[in-house]
C-alpha cells in the first residue's frame, strides 16, 4: 500500500479523501492556494504544499505545480477529487511518466469518454442504449431538417463540444430545427471555438439517473446501483438520492450491466459513473461517463456500505476488487442535499464572506438513522469568490425513503449557517414538496415548481401551531428570567401570566400555558392542546423541542417582543404578547416595506468606489450608475430602466451594507 498520497483538490472532497486515507494508515499531502492558507483540508492533512495564487488556473489546475508538490513531498499516488484535474488526461499522463499512481482510470479511458461524440460511438458499439440521433457532422440547416424528420420530433440540437446548456436547442418542427441549427452553430463557434453540431431525440419526462461502477485492473467490474439526480438547477445538481424511486429491478440490472460493458470496453479501472437519461416509460439512454469520483458518491456509500475512496485507492495500488456483484445490496435509502453559498431569495446569487456561524447537525449513525455531513469549511472561515460555492453535502439515511426524507428535514432545520446567504431554506422547501415526497420528479422540477424563483415558504396551520406553542413556552422562560433581576421591590414582584397571544405569518393565536417541571402544555382557543418539552434557554440559537413527542428543530433569533424563527424553510417573525399588548398592537399601522423599485440598493456589503451620475441626470437602461468594490472585485451597478436620478445617498469612499439605498429615482 502507498505510504503517502497527495490530494490535488480542495474543500470538502479533499477532506473526504483525507478521512479515508487516515483510516487506511496512509499519510496525506494537501495542496493550497493563497486563498486556502487556513482551509480545513490544509489543517487535516499531514503535510501541505502552497501552489500559488487563488485563481484555480494559477494553482489547482496547473499540472506543473502539482507535479512539483509531489516531488517535494514524495507522494506515491494522487487522488484528484472531482473537477480541477480529475478528468485531465494530460495530468494522468504526467503522473504515469513520473511513476506516480493516479487514483483514477487509465489515460485512454479518460480520453475516450471525454468527448461526447466519441463516447457515444463507443457506448453504441458496447451495446449501451443511446439516444436515437445522428452521430455524424451536419453540414447545413436543410440536412438538419432531414435528419430531424428521420429521428422524429421533438429533437435536441446540440454542440459537440457543448456543456452547461450552451449551444443547445429543442425543436418541435422543421422551422424550429432550421432556426435551432443555425443558432446552436453560432453559439458553439463563439463559446467553444468548435461549431460541430449533432441532433438527437429529445427525451420527454426526463430523469437523470446514473450508475456507479467500480473496476479493477484484473478485469473485474461491478455496479453499485444507481443514484437519481433529477433535482437540478441549471444543470447544477441540488438533491440526489440512492436508490432511485423510479427504477424497477429489471431496469436497474439492465442499466448496471450496460454500464459495466461500457467500462470494460474502454479498459476502465477505478470508480466511474455512467449517466443516463430515463424517460417516463423507463427507457434509458446513455448521456456520458464521468471518469472520476462524483460529488454525490456518499449516497451510494450509504446504501451499499462500500467506501468508494478506499476502493479507488486499492485499485490504484493494483489490488483486485474484494467484492463481487452479488455482494452489492441496496440497504435502505440515502438522500444528499447540497448546501450552496447562494442566496435563494436573490435568484441564487452567489454569496461570499465570513462564516460567522457554521454549526452542522451532529454526524450520527444508528440502525435506523444516519446523518453524514461532508464539508470543507469551519466557523470563522471564509467563503471565497474563487471556487465552487458548495460548502457542504448533507446526507441522511433511513430504512425507507420517507424516513430518510424526515431525517433530512430535521437535519436541515438543525444546520446553522450565518454570515452568508445560503440555500438551506430552499432545500427544506424541496424536502417538503409533495412532488418530491412522492418521487414524481423530472429534471425540470425546479424550473417548473419555482418558475419565479424561490419566494420562501408559508407553513400550514398545524405547523404554525407547533411553532406558536414552542414560542409561547420559550417566551415564558425568558419572561420569568426578566423578573429575577436584582433591585426588585420586595413583595411587589412581577408575576408572569399564563395567557399569551402569539402572532406569526399573519395569524394570531391566543394560548394558555400550563407549565410543570417536565415542560408546558399549551392550549389554543380552538381547544387544541400541544405538549412542549425542551431545554431551550434564552440565548440558545437552536431550539430542539419535542412537540407532542415528535421533534421540532428551530433556529431562534432575537426580534423586539419575540423571536425570529427559521424552520422547514420558513423565516418567521413571531411576536409573543400579553392579551392586553396584543389588543393594543392591533392599533399599530402595518408599515409596508418601502417601494424599492425606484431605488438603487447596494447588492452586497462593499465600498463605493465611484458614483457616475448626478442628481437630476436622466439615465438610460443599462447605464452605469456607480461602482461598488466588494472582496477586491469592482461591481458596476447599472440602471434597470430609464429614469431621472432624484437623490444620491452615497459618495465614493462610503462603506455600505446590503440593501442600503445608494440612490433614488423620480
Amino acid at each position: 500500500m502507498f505510504d503517502k498520497i497527495l490530494i490535488a483538490n480542495r474543500g470538502e472532497i479533499a477532506c473526504r479523501v483525507i478521512k479515508t486515507a487516515r483510516k487506511m494508515g496512509i499519510k496525506t499531502v494537501a495542496v493550497y492556494s493563497d486563498a486556502d492558507r487556513n482551509a480545513l483540508h490544509v489543517e487535516m492533512a499531514d503535510e501541505a504544499v502552497h501552489i500559488g495564487p487563488p485563481p484555480a488556473n494559477q494553482s489547482y489546475i496547473v499540472i506543473d505545480k502539482i507535479m512539483d508538490a509531489i516531488k517535494q513531498t514524495g507522494a506515491q499516488a494522487v487522488h484528484p477529487g472531482y473537477g480541477f484535474l480529475s478528468e485531465n488526461s494530460k495530468f494522468a499522463e504526467a503522473l504515469d511518466a513520473a511513476g506516480v499512481a493516479f487514483i483514477g482510470p487509465p489515460v485512454g479511458a479518460i480520453e475516450s469518454m471525454g468527448d461526447k461524440i466519441t463516447s457515444k460511438k463507443i457506448a453504441q458499439e458496447a451495446g449501451v442504449n443511446t439516444v436515437p440521433g445522428y452521430m455524424g457532422l451536419i453540414e447545413d440547416a436543410e440536412e438538419a431538417v432531414k435528419i430531424s424528420n428521420e429521428i422524429g420530433y421533438p429533437v435536441m440540437i446540440k454542440a459537440s463540444a457543448g456543456g452547461g446548456g450552451k449551444g443547445m436547442r429543442i425543436a418541435w418542427n422543421d422551422d424550429e430545427a432550421r432556426e435551432g441549427f443555425q443558432s446552436s452553430k453560432n453559439e458553439a463557434a463563439n463559446s467553444f471555438g468548435d461549431d460541430r453540431i449533432f441532433i438527437e431525440k429529445f427525451v420527454t419526462q426526463p430523469r437523470h439517473i446514473e450508475i456507479q461502477v467500480l473496476a479493477d485492473a484484473h478485469g473485474n467490474c461491478i455496479y453499485l446501483n444507481e443514484r437519481e439526480c433529477s433535482i437540478q438547477r441549471r444543470n447544477q445538481k441540488v438533491v440526489e438520492e440512492a436508490p432511485s424511486p423510479f427504477l424497477d429491478e429489471a431496469t436497474r440490472k439492465a442499466m448496471g450491466e450496460q454500464s459495466c460493458a461500457l467500462a470494460k470496453a474502454v479498459g476502465y479501472t477505478s470508480a466511474g459513473t455512467v449517466e443516463f437519461i430515463v424517460d417516463g416509460d423507463r427507457n434509458f439512454y446513455f448521456l456520458e461517463m464521468n471518469t472520476r469520483l462524483q460529488v454525490e458518491h456518499p449516497v451510494t456509500e450509504l446504501i451499499t456500505g462500500v467506501d468508494l475512496v478506499e476502493q479507488m485507492i486499492r485499485v490504484a495500488n493494483g489490488e483486485p476488487l474484494s467484492i463481487t456483484q452479488d455482494d452489492v445490496k441496496i440497504n435502505g435509502w440515502a438522500i444528499e442535499n447540497r448546501l450552496y453559498a447562494e442566496d435563494p431569495y436573490r435568484g441564487f446569487l452567489p454569496s461570499i464572506g465570513r462564516l460567522a456561524r457554521y454549526r452542522p447537525p451532529e454526524e450520527f449513525a444508528s440502525e435506523t438513522h444516519v446523518v453524514r455531513n461532508d464539508t470543507g469549511v469551519f466557523e470563522g472561515g471564509e467563503i471565497s469568490m474563487y471556487y465552487d460555492p458548495m460548502i457542504a453535502k448533507l446526507c441522511t439515511w433511513g430504512p425507507t425513503r420517507l424516513e430518510a426524507i424526515e431525517h433530512m428535514r430535521n437535519a436541515l432545520d438543525g444546520f446553522e449557517v450565518e454570515g452568508i446567504g445560503h440555500n438551506l431554506p430552499f432545500l427544506s422547501a424541496v424536502m417538503d414538496h409533495p412532488k418530491f415526497v412522492s418521487g414524481d420528479m423530472t429534471t425540470a422540477f425546479i424550473a417548473e415548481e419555482y418558475p419565479e424563483g424561490f419566494m420562501g415558504v408559508d407553513l400550514d396551520h398545524s405547523a404554525l401551531q407547533r411553532i406558536a406553542a414552542s414560542c409561547a413556552a420559550m417566551n415564558r422562560v425568558a419572561e420569568i428570567r426578566r423578573t429575577q433581576i436584582s433591585g426588585r421591590m420586595d413583595n411587589h414582584e412581577r408575576r408572569v401570566g399564563d395567557d399569551w397571544v402569539v402572532s406569526l405569518q399573519g395569524q394570531s393565536y391566543a394560548v394558555t400555558i400550563a407549565a410543570d417541571p417536565g415542560g408546558s402544555t399549551v392550549t389554543f382557543e380552538d381547544g387544541t392542546s400541544i405538549r412542549v418539552e425542551g431545554d431551550w434557554t434564552p440565548g440558545d440559537q437552536l431550539a430542539t423541542m419535542s412537540i407532542d413527542g415528535s421533534p421540532l428543530v428551530m433556529k431562534v433569533g432575537k426580534i423586539s417582543g419575540g423571536f425570529r424563527i427559521r424552520s422547514r424553510g420558513a423565516d418567521l417573525k413571531v411576536h409573543v404578547r400579553s392579551p392586553r399588548q396584543a389588543e393594543l398592537a392591533q392599533f399599530m399601522i402595518e408599515k409596508l416595506p418601502p417601494d424599492t423599485s425606484k431605488m438603487l440598493l447596494c447588492p452586497m456589503p462593499g465600498l463605493i468606489v465611484k458614483v457616475n451620475v448626478e442628481v437630476g441626470q436622466e439615465v438610460q437602461e443599462g447605464q452605469a450608475l456607480c461602482t461598488v468594490e466588494a472582496m477586491k472585485m469592482e461591481n458596476i451597478l447599472r440602471a434597470e430602466r430609464k429614469g431621472v436620478v432624484s437623490k444620491i445617498n452615497a459618495a465614493a469612499g462610503d462603506s455600505l451594507a446590503v440593501d442600503d439605498v445608494i440612490m433614488e429615482f423620480e
Partner: protein, 510 residues
C-alpha cells in the same frame, strides 16, 4: 356612603377618558396609543399608581374656565418594570393636544422630585403640541421648572424620554437633557422651530418629518438614541433598556440570572481579524460573541457608525461597550464618533456601569472639515471622559491602536484596569509606511531601502509585545478566550474603589 364611593369611581372613569372617546379614536386612527395605554405597556401589569388624577388647570382667560378636564393633559405616577420601581409621566394628546400648562408642569415636577428623593428612574412619554398658549408666561415657567429638575436629576437617576408625537419649541429641551431619547418612526418629530417658521425665515421648504423625524434625529443630528417602528415596540424596548440600568447612582448595575457559560470559547474569533491589515471586519461579531446570550442593546446605532456603543451583560451584569468599527471609515475617530462615545462613557461612569473598550483604531480622521469643526476639542471629550471615569475599565486591542487614538481608547495610562491585546494587535505611533517615510526620510528616493525599512518597522512594532514589554498591555490573550478573560477581569473589579479629587465639577471641553 355607597354613593360617595361611587362618586369616586365616576370621577375616575371620567378622568380616564381624557379628552373623550372621539379624540381617543382619532389617536388610535393615527396608529398611536393613548397616554394611559402607553403606561400600561411600559409598566408591569397592574403596577401603576397614579398621582394627581384630578388636577385641573387654573386658567381663566380665553374662556378656558369652561373646560377643566381632570388630569390636565398628563398622566403621572409610578410603577414597576420587572419588579423595579420607575416614575413615569405620559402626556395626553387628547387633552388640549397634550399642551403644557402650569399645573401640567407641576404634576411632572412632583414625580421628578420623588424620583430624585427615592432613587428611581424617570421615564417621560412626550406627545404634546407645546406650551398652553392661553396660559402665556405661566406655561413657560412650567417648562423651566421641569428643565431645572432634569438638570438636578442628571447623574442621579437615569432619565429616559420617549417621543411619541410632536415635541416642538422649548419642549424639546426637557428630553434634550435626559440620558436617552427614543422616537417612534413616522409618528414623532422634534424641532426647535417648525417648518412654517423655517420657511418664513430661511425660505427652506421642508416637511416636519424631514426636519425633525426619527430618521433625521437618529442618523443626522444624533439627538435621538434610537427609533422604533411603533408605540408597542418602543415601549417594549424601553422596558428592555431599563433592565440594563441601575435605578440610581448609588447602586451597582443590575444583575440577573444568565444562561451562558462565562468561560465559553469562541474558536471563530481566532480568524476574525483578516490576514490583510487593510481588510475590514465586523466588530459587532466580537461584541455579540462576547456578550451573555449574544444580547446587545445598541445606543445610537445609526449615527457615527465608525464607533459602536451599547450595553451587554457579562455574568448577568450590565457592561457598557465602546468599540471601533473597522467596517466604517476604517474605525477612525472623528468629531461625531468622539462625541457619541464620550457621552456614552460619561453615562456609564455616572451610573457605575463598568466599561469594556474594544480597540481597532487607525487614528483620527484628517481633513479641513474635521479641523474646522473642532476635532481637537471633540476628540478631547472622549479622552476626558475615559480619563475621569472611575468605574471598572477593561480594554481589548484587536488590531490597530495608532497614535493619539491609542491613548484615547481607554489606554493603560488613563487608569485602565485591564488592558489586553490580541496577538494581531499593532500598537504604534502610526502605520509602518508612514513611520518609515518620516524616520528614514533620507532614503525616500530608494524604493528598495524604504521597503526594507518598512519591513523592519513592521517586524519590530506591528505587534503587541513592545507595549507588553513596558506593561502598557497587561497580557496578550488568545482571541478565542476573550469572553473568559474579560469576564474574569470584570469579576475581579467588582469591589473597585477609586475617587477623583474633590471639585465643584470638572470643565470638560464642551
Amino acid at each position: 356612603m355607597k354613593d360617595i364611593l361611587q362618586e369616586l369611581e365616576t370621577r375616575r372613569a371620567n378622568a380616564r377618558l381624557g379628552g373623550g372617546q372621539k379624540r381617543i379614536d382619532a389617536q388610535h386612527a393615527k396608529g398611536k396609543l393613548t397616554a394611559r395605554e402607553r403606561i400600561e405597556l411600559l409598566l408591569d401589569d397592574g403596577s401603576f399608581e397614579e398621582f394627581d388624577m384630578f388636577v385641573a388647570h387654573r386658567c381663566t382667560d380665553f374662556g378656558m374656565e369652561k373646560q377643566r378636564p381632570a388630569g390636565d393633559g398628563v398622566v403621572t405616577g409610578w410603577g414597576t418594570i420587572n419588579g423595579r420601581m420607575v416614575y413615569v409621566f405620559s402626556q395626553d394628546f387628547t387633552v388640549f393636544g397634550g399642551s403644557l400648562s402650569e399645573t401640567h408642569a407641576q404634576k411632572i415636577c412632583k414625580i421628578m422630585d420623588m424620583a430624585i428623593q427615592n432613587g428611581a428612574p424617570v421615564i417621560g412619554i412626550n406627545d404634546s403640541g407645546g406650551a398652553r398658549i392661553q396660559e402665556g408666561v405661566a406655561s413657560l415657567a412650567g417648562y423651566a421648572e421641569v428643565f431645572q429638575r432634569n438638570i438636578m436629576a442628571s447623574g442621579v437617576v437615569p432619565q429616559i424620554s420617549v417621543i411619541m408625537g410632536p415635541c416642538a419649541g422649548g419642549a424639546v429641551y426637557s428630553p434634550a437633557m435626559t440620558d436617552f431619547i427614543f422616537m417612534v418612526k413616522d409618528s414623532s418629530y422634534m424641532f426647535v422651530t417648525g417648518p412654517d417658521v423655517v420657511k418664513t425665515v430661511t425660505n427652506e421648504v421642508i416637511t416636519a418629518e424631514e426636519l425633525g423625524g426619527a430618521s433625521t434625529h437618529t442618523k443626522k443630528s444624533s439627538v435621538a438614541d434610537g427609533a422604533f417602528e411603533n408605540d408597542v415596540e418602543a415601549l417594549a424596548e424601553v422596558r428592555r433598556l431599563v433592565d440594563f440600568l441601575p435605578l440610581n447612582n448609588r447602586e451597582k448595575a443590575p444583575v440577573r440570572p444568565f444562561f451562558d457559560e462565562p468561560g465559553r470559547i469562541e474558536t471563530s474569533l481566532d480568524t476574525l481579524v483578516p490576514d490583510n491589515a487593510n481588510t475590514p471586519y465586523d466588530m459587532k461579531e466580537l461584541i455579540l460573541k462576547l456578550a451573555d446570550e449574544g444580547d446587545f442593546y445598541e445606543i445610537q446605532e445609526d449615527f457615527a457608525k465608525n464607533i459602536i456603543t451599547g450595553f451587554i451583560r457579562l455574568e448577568g451584569q450590565t457592561v457598557g461597550v465602546v468599540a471601533n468599527q473597522p467596517m466604517v471609515l476604517a474605525g477612525c475617530l472623528d468629531i461625531d464618533s468622539s462625541r457619541k462615545a464620550a457621552r456614552f462613557v460619561r453615562f456609564c461612569d455616572a451610573f457605575e456601569i463598568p466599561i469594556l473598550t474594544l480597540v481597532d483604531v487607525p487614528g483620527f480622521l484628517p481633513g479641513t472639515s474635521q479641523e474646522y469643526g473642532g476635532v481637537i476639542k471633540h476628540g478631547a471629550k472622549l479622552l476626558f471622559a475615559y480619563g475621569e471615569a472611575t468605574v471598572p475599565k477593561v480594554t481589548v486591542i484587536t488590531r490597530k491602536a495608532y497614535g493619539g487614538a491609542y491613548d484615547v481608547m481607554s489606554s493603560k495610562h488613563l487608569r485602565g484596569d485591564f488592558n489586553y491585546a490580541w496577538p494581531t494587535a499593532e500598537i504604534a505611533v502610526m502605520g509602518a509606511k508612514g513611520a518609515t517615510e518620516i524616520i528614514h526620510r533620507a532614503d525616500l528616493g530608494d524604493a528598495e531601502k524604504i521597503a526594507q525599512h518598512t519591513q523592519d518597522y513592521e517586524d519590530r512594532f506591528a505587534n503587541p509585545f513592545v507595549a507588553a514589554e513596558r506593561g502598557f498591555i497587561d497580557e496578550v490573550i488568545q482571541p478565542r478566550s476573550t469572553r473568559r478573560r474579560v469576564s474574569r477581569a470584570f469579576a475581579s473589579l467588582r469591589n473597585k474603589k477609586l475617587q477623583n479629587p474633590w471639585k465643584k465639577h470638572d470643565n470638560i471641553p464642551l
